[in-house]
Amino acid sequence: MNEKVIVNDPPSAGPVVHEDLSLLHDVSLLTPGDSHIEMCIQCGTCGGSCPSGSAMNHTPRAIFAMLRAGMRDEVMKSNTPWMCVSCYYCTVRCPQDIHITDVMYTLKNMSLKSKMVQDSTASDFSRTFIHYVENYGRSFEIGLAGIHSVTHLRLAARLPSMAPMALGMLTKKGMSPLPPKHIKGMKDLKKILKRAKELEAS
């Protein structure tokens, strides 16, 4: 089944052109805390531990090697960070104490800003999710599942329909089909997020 889910093509065997040696530095700079990313010894514990590794077009280890090699575009285009399920196996097992999961978040951020994301499924899902949070202060699973499968039909189509499940959500779990109520501090929350985004940009 692995083949089924490989989203991108495997990397080309061509030589690395225009190396970008600032890449590694950028990544560790954008990661909160000390990621120790420069310490990687390429042992592959991360790649071996990754539950969704089979769905990645590069293993995390390969990504770190590419960061060193300054292969910015390849990394930005990779689906690896987007396949990360944040299980933190790699993080706790890494013999060099590299905060791999956090680095994956950083890479997602970077690739979005670089506009090089290949498959927007994951990023759009995140956006939809955050759309609710940014406007209501709470997330909204039903709406989320709904819109997401609507906006990504090709995906939904590939699977048995999600409808019965969504329905179950309503009936069994007694979830409300209405979007969540705004939290009281919504105005302030928006201010906070606005300021945060400015800080992020600066």
């Binding site: 706790v92 939809t128 202060g137 039903i142 709406g143 906006t151 945060a196």
Partner: protein, 336 residues
């Protein structure tokens, strides 16, 4: 027993109502006093971190700031959801570890007239509180209906024992806290090899094939060990294993019927609470059979009938959706 600041998290008021009710009932029984943080907001799960670091942490930190404001004496924030727990402690951890970062986040909070002093609050998962604050002895003392004969697979998942910034758990891969608790309830606990494996997280939404495989591994492994139920302690885990089990069966042509319950539901039962008040019956894969085996009558979940309205007609007119999506993409307008 001292007071705790309670951060329920979004799922507790939608998909995980069963968890919510059972938590309330159990904490009442153990006189753990939970004061819900006034006007808390979503922790952003793993999604916001994927988009923007600073806003993501600001979003999380707002809850900590509110909690600190409303603390009056309490120092511990309790989250029943692993993802929420990790996000809250993560934010506290990094704001503490990296001063500059902490100041940056506080600068953002300041825009909303808020501030959080990293390290002021302790963030803990409910399980941790039950084991290490309440203590198993007290729990044992409350058990009136031991769960003898029920084979349970203790499923801890990822974000509780990993990365475990404050090393609260016995191990990051095979912690025994949940086992001990369930044993204390009289249940028969299997040595579940995938105890801390991944439930697929949000992959059900973006790489279902991957997610389904992860779910299959868990359920089949529990099944190999002849478990009657899998016990979860995170709404996301429970939802993935329960709600998607049908599709997993479809996808792999299997026929698992593995009920997924919250540990608090079983605690409630053992404490003699009525199944109805513990959210039984709201699970997709009915726990009815499994519970009958130990002489507990749980309501049979009603089968989903095709509703009048087409499920496609979910709330939210397409336009607004697109607008919403669009605005969510371009950073600037988003907050306009």
């Amino acid at each position: 027993m001292s007071d705790y600041l309670f951060y329920p998290g979004c799922s507790m008021e939608s998909s995980a109502k069963a968890y919510y009710h059972s938590v309330m009932s159990v904490c009442k029984a153990l006189d753990v006093k939970l004061n819900e943080i006034e006007d808390w907001n979503c922790c952003g799960a793993t999604e916001y971190l994927s988009l923007d670091v600073t806003p993501a942490y600001a979003l999380i930190a707002r809850n900590l700031a509110l909690a600190e404001q409303q603390a009056n004496g309490a120092t511990t924030v309790v989250a029943p959801c692993s993802a929420c727990y990790l996000n809250l402690s993560k934010a506290d951890h990094y704001m503490h570890e990296n001063k500059a970062f902490g100041e940056k986040i506080n600068a953002a909070l300041a825009a909303g007239g808020l501030h959080y002093d990293p390290g002021q609050l302790v963030v803990r998962h409910l399980l941790d509180v039950v084991i290490n604050e309440v203590g198993l002895d007290k729990v044992k003392g409350k058990v009136v209906k031991p769960l003898g004969g029920l084979r349970v697979a203790p499923y801890v998942g990822c974000m509780l024992p990993r990365p475990d910034y404050n090393s609260r758990y016995s191990d990051s891969e095979h912690p025994y806290e949940l086992d001990d608790l369930l044993k204390a309830l009289g249940a028969e606990v299997i040595d579940f090899p995938l105890k801390t494996a991944c439930c697929g997280g949000h992959m059900t939404q973006i790489g279902p094939a991957t997610a389904f495989e992860l779910i299959r591994r868990l359920i089949s492994s529990a099944d190999d060990y002849k478990a009657d139920v899998i016990v979860a302690l995170c709404p996301m885990c429970q939802m993935n294993l329960d709600a998607f089990q049908g599709q997993v069966n479809g996808y792999f042509h299997t026929n698992y019927k593995m009920p997924i319950l919250f540990f608090t539901q079983l605690m409630g039962l053992a404490f003699g609470e009525k199944p109805e008040n513990l959210g039984f019956g709201s699970e997709f894969v009915s726990a009815h059979e499994a519970m009958k085996r130990i002489g507990v009558q749980t309501p049979v979940p009603e089968e989903a009938k095709p509703a009048r309205k087409k499920p496609a007609g979910l709330p939210m007119p397409p336009l607004r959706v697109r607008a919403g999506l669009k605005s969510a993409t371009g950073n600037k307008e988003a907050t306009e």
